[in-house]
C-alpha cells in the first residue's frame, strides 16, 4: 500500500527521523496560510509547493492545463519580497495546481488530479544522496541501498554507474549494526557532523522500515545541509499488504482516490483484480493461471481487459461480484472464464456464472472453459441454463473463440 509524501514524512518525524517542516493543504487558503507559519519556524521565507500524488517523477512532470508548470515548485520570491511576496506566489501556484492534472513518467498519459499540496520549508542543500531499504529476494533479507548520486532515479544510476550503488544486507536477528551504518556513511563521503548524523539516520531509518513492515522506503534525495544536518528531502514509503493488519494506523492512511475503483471493489470481495487496457475480460482461478490466460489472449491476437483471480475457495457471491466488476468496464467486448477446478469445483463456478448472468445480464459474448474437479457437472449446469455461453475445450480454444466473438 502506497501513501503520500506528507504522510510518509509525518511517520518518519514521529520516529525522530529528520524531515523538513511542512503543512498539507487541500485549499488555496490553507496553502497560503502555511507560508507564514513555515517561514516563522524556519527563519527563511523560501518554501516548496509539492503536488501529492502516488506517483514518482513529480518534479519533471507537467500539468495538462499548464504545460509549463511542474509538479514541484520552489518559491524564492520571499527572499527579496518578504513573506507577503512568497504568499502571493504560493496563492498563484496553488490556484493552478489544485484540481489540475499532473502527468509524470509514472502516471501514464491520463495523469492524476492533484487534490493535496504539501507546502514545505526550503532547505540549504550541500549534497544530495540516495537511500532506500527494501527486500532482496535472492537472499530473503532486507538491504540498505545507498548512493552518492542523489536526485537521480536509482534505476538510471544502476544502469549507467552500477559501481556507485552501495548494497548492505541486514541480518534480521541483529538489524543494521553500527559498523555497517558507519561503513555506508563513509562510502557516502560524509564527514564531521554529517557523518555522525548520517549514521544515526541510517540506523533509525532501517529500524523504522523493519518495525513498520515496509515494502520500500526510498529517500531520494537524502540531503546533507550546509550545517551538517542529514534530512529526508523526499520520502516514498509503501507498506507490505500482508502485514497491514498489525499497523491499523498505517492502514488508515490509505487514499482511495489514488486507487482504481474496480480494484478496490474487488479487494472488498476478496478477489484479486487488476485493470488493463484491452477488451477481453477474464475470470480465472489462481494467480498463475490468470496471468497465463492474459498471455494466451494476447498470443492469439486479443488484448486482456483485466487480471482477475477468484481464488481457490470462491463462493457464488464472489463469482457474481467478479462478473459485475468485469462487465462494468465499458471496454470489455467479450468475457473468457477459465477454470481449472482443484479446490474450486467447476459446479460452483457454473452456478455462480448462471446466477451472475441472471442478475447482471449478458451484453457481450461469453466463453467458458472448465477443467478439473466436477467438470461434467459444471458443463451440465451451463448447458441446461439455456444461456448464450460458448464452451471451450482448452485454454487456447477458449482464447481463440473469445477473440473472434469479440470482434
Amino acid at each position: 500500500m502506497k501513501i503520500h509524501e506528507y504522510q510518509a514524512k509525518a511517520l518518519m518525524e514521529a520516529r525522530g527521523i529528520p524531515v523538513p517542516h511542512g503543512v498539507m493543504a487541500t485549499t488555496v487558503d490553507e496553502a497560503v496560510a502555511a507560508v507564514r507559519q513555515l517561514s516563522e519556524s524556519s527563519g527563511s521565507p523560501v518554501v516548496v509547493v509539492k503536488s501529492q500524488i502516488h506517483a514518482g517523477g513529480r518534479g519533471k512532470g507537467r500539468f495538462k492545463e499548464y504545460p509549463e508548470l511542474g509538479g514541484v515548485n520552489v518559491v524564492l520570491d520571499g527572499i527579496e519580497g518578504g513573506v507577503e511576496a512568497a504568499e502571493a506566489r504560493v496563492r498563484e501556484l496553488a490556484t493552478w495546481m489544485l484540481g489540475s492534472t499532473l502527468v509524470t513518467i509514472q502516471t501514464g498519459d491520463e495523469g492524476r488530479v492533484v487534490t493535496r499540496l504539501y507546502i514545505e520549508q526550503g532547505i540549504e542543500i550541500a549534497t544530495e544522496l540516495y537511500l532506500s531499504v527494501l527486500l532482496d529476494r535472492s537472499t530473503s533479507r532486507n538491504i540498505v541501498m545507498a548512493s552518492t548520486e542523489g536526485g537521480t532515479e536509482i534505476e538510471v544510476v544502476a544502469h549507467e554507474t552500477p559501481e556507485k550503488i552501495i548494497k548492505i544486507e541486514i541480518d534480521p536477528a541483529f538489524g543494521l549494526t553500527d559498523f555497517q551504518a558507519r561503513g555506508i556513511a563513509y562510502k557516502l563521503e560524509l564527514e564531521g557532523d554529517a557523518l555522525k548524523n548520517g549514521v544515526k539516520f541510517l540506523k533509525d531509518l532501517t529500524a523504522f522500515a523493519i518495525e513498520m513492515d515496509t515494502d520500500l522506503v526510498e529517500i531520494n534525495p537524502l540531503v546533507v545541509t550546509t550545517d551538517g544536518q542529514v534530512i529526508a528531502l523526499d520520502g516514498k514509503i509503501s507498506f507490505e499488504a500482508n502485514a497491514l493488519y498489525r499497523h491499523p494506523e498505517v492502514a488508515a492512511l490509505r487514499d482511495e482516490a489514488e486507487e482504481d475503483a474496480a480494484e478496490l471493489a474487488a479487494t472488498e470481495h476478496g478477489l484479486s483484480f487488476i485493470k488493463l487496457d484491452g477488451s477481453i475480460g477474464c475470470m480465472v482461478n489462481g494467480a498463475g493461471l490468470a496471468m497465463a490466460t492474459m498471455d494466451i489472449i494476447q498470443f492469439v491476437g486479443g488484448e486482456p481487459a483485466n487480471f482477475l483471480d477468484v481464488g481457490g475457495g470462491a463462493d457464488k457471491d464472489q463469482i457474481v461480484a467478479a462478473f459485475k466488476i468485469i462487465t462494468e468496464d465499458p471496454n470489455v467486448k467479450g468475457i473468457f472464464i477459465n477454470i481449472f477446478g482443484g479446490i474450486m469445483r467447476c459446479d460452483i463456478i457454473a452456478n455462480g456464472v448462471v446466477a451472475a448472468i441472471e442478475e447482471v445480464g449478458l451484453q457481450v459474448p461469453l466463453v467458458v472453459r472448465l477443467e478439473g474437479t466436477n467438470v461434467e457437472l459444471g458443463k451440465q449446469i451451463i448447458d441446461e441454463s439455456g444461456l448464450n455461453v460458448v464452451s471451450a475445450t482448452d485454454m487456447r480454444d477458449g482464447a481463440v473463440k473469445i477473440v473472434e466473438l469479440a470482434e
Binding site: A241, G288, M294, D295, F307, M395
Partner: protein, 308 residues
C-alpha cells in the same frame, strides 16, 4: 523413486481448522499416512476422518477409510509420539511463521507451508531461524508436494496426477494443475510435483528442486513453471546451464503483466525493470530449456525436450 515424499512419509498437520481438516481428509482419502495434528488448545482430542477412498491415490486399498488422528499441543510432543517426518502447515498467516519455526525446532525434516498471506518480515525471520538447521521448508503460499499414488501433501487435486518420469516444479497452483493435466494427456507421468509458492520469500527454490530431480534416478525430465517477479528463474537458468543433465521444459507466466502491479501472488511483480517474463524466457532458452510459447503448449514442450 521420487523426491521429498513417498509411501514412507509420515505426516503431521499443523493447523487443523476448517481448511486444514478439509485437506487432511482429502490427503487421507488419497492414501497419505497422516499420523497426528497440532492444535494449541485441543490436546488429547482426536480428529476422526471417514469416507470413500480416492481411487486415483495409493493403490490396493480398501474402498473406505475410518481413521482417528491424535491431536498434540506441540510439534515436539507430536514428533516424539508419532515419528512424523514431514509436516504440513495450514496455520493462519499471523501465526504461520511461528509454526514453521516450531517445526524446525522439533527437527521435522520437511516443512510444507500452504498458508497464503504471511507477512514478509515474518518469513525473513523464519528463514533466518532455519539457517544452519537440517530442515527443508517448501512454500509458503504453495499447493504442496505430491508423489502420484504414494503421498499427497497439500491442496492439489490428486486425480490429475499419474506416476511417471517427469519432475514438476512451479511457483503457481492452478497453473501447475494445468501443466500436470497436459503432461498426463501427453502420456507423461510425474515422479513428484512440487509447488514452491508465489511469495517473495520462500524456503525451497527452483535450484534446490532442480538439484533434487537431477539426482533422482527415476526422474528423466523436468517441467518448470515460473512467473514474473524476482530473479529465481534466471538463477535456475544459470544452474541448469552448468549442472543439469536432464531435459527441461518450461513456461513463464506474465508476458502481458504491466510493471509495478502485483499479479495476485505477493511475489509476482515487475519492479525497477527486474523480473520481466522476457528476461526469464531469454535466460532459460539460453540454458537449453524448451519454453512453451503459450500455457497450452506445456505438455508438448516437455515432449519436445524429451526427444532432444
Amino acid at each position: 523413486m521420487s523426491v521429498l515424499v513417498n509411501r514412507d512419509t509420515r505426516v503431521l498437520v499443523q493447523g487443523i481448522g476448517e481448511t486444514g481438516r478439509f485437506h487432511t481428509d482429502k490427503a487421507i482419502a488419497y492414501g497419505t499416512v497422516v499420523v497426528g495434528a497440532v492444535h494449541p488448545s485441543r490436546v488429547g482430542q482426536v480428529e476422526r476422518f471417514t469416507g470413500d477412498t480416492d481411487g486415483s491415490g495409493v493403490q490396493g486399498r480398501q474402498d473406505t477409510y475410518d481413521v482417528e488422528i491424535p491431536i498434540f499441543s506441540t510439534v515436539r510432543d507430536a514428533v516424539a509420539e508419532t515419528g512424523a517426518n514431514a509436516t504440513v502447515i495450514y496455520v493462519p498467516p499471523p501465526f504461520a511463521a511461528d509454526a514453521i519455526m516450531e517445526a524446525a525446532d522439533a527437527g521435522v525434516p520437511l516443512i510444507i507451508t500452504i498458508t497464503e498471506g504471511i507477512p514478509v518480515a515474518d518469513m525473513v525471520l523464519a528463514k533466518r531461524y532455519l539457517q544452519g538447521r537440517d530442515v527443508r521448508l517448501v512454500g509458503p503460499n504453495c499447493p504442496g508436494v505430491i508423489t502420484p499414488q504414494e503421498c499427497k501433501i497439500g491442496i492439489m487435486p490428486g486425480y490429475i496426477h499419474t506416476p511417471g518420469t517427469i519432475g514438476v516444479v512451479s511457483r503457481s497452483g492452478t497453473l501447475t494443475y494445468e501443466a500436470v493435466h497436459q503432461l498426463t494427456l501427453n502420456g507423461l507421468g510425474q515422479t513428484t510435483a512440487i509447488g514452491i509458492g508465489g511469495d517473495p520469500v520462500n524456503g525451497t527454490n527452483f535450484v534446490d528442486v532442480l538439484t533434487l530431480f537431477n539426482e533422482d534416478p527415476a526422474t528423466e525430465g523436468v517441467m518448470m513453471i515460473g512467473e514474473i517477479g524476482g530473479t529465481a528463474e534466471e538463477e535456475a537458468a544459470e544452474w541448469i546451464k552448468a549442472n543439469m543433465t536432464k531435459p527441461v521444459a518450461g513456461f513463464i507466466a506474465g508476458t502481458t503483466a504491466p510493471p509495478g502491479k502485483r499479479m495476485g501472488h505477493a511475489g509476482a511483480i515487475i519492479s525497477g525493470g527486474q523480473g520481466t517474463a522476457e528476461a526469464k524466457i531469454t535466460a532459460l532458452e539460453d540454458a537449453g530449456v524448451v519454453i512453451a510459447p503459450t500455457p497450452t503448449d506445456m505438455g508438448t514442450a516437455m515432449l519436445e525436450a524429451m526427444s532432444r
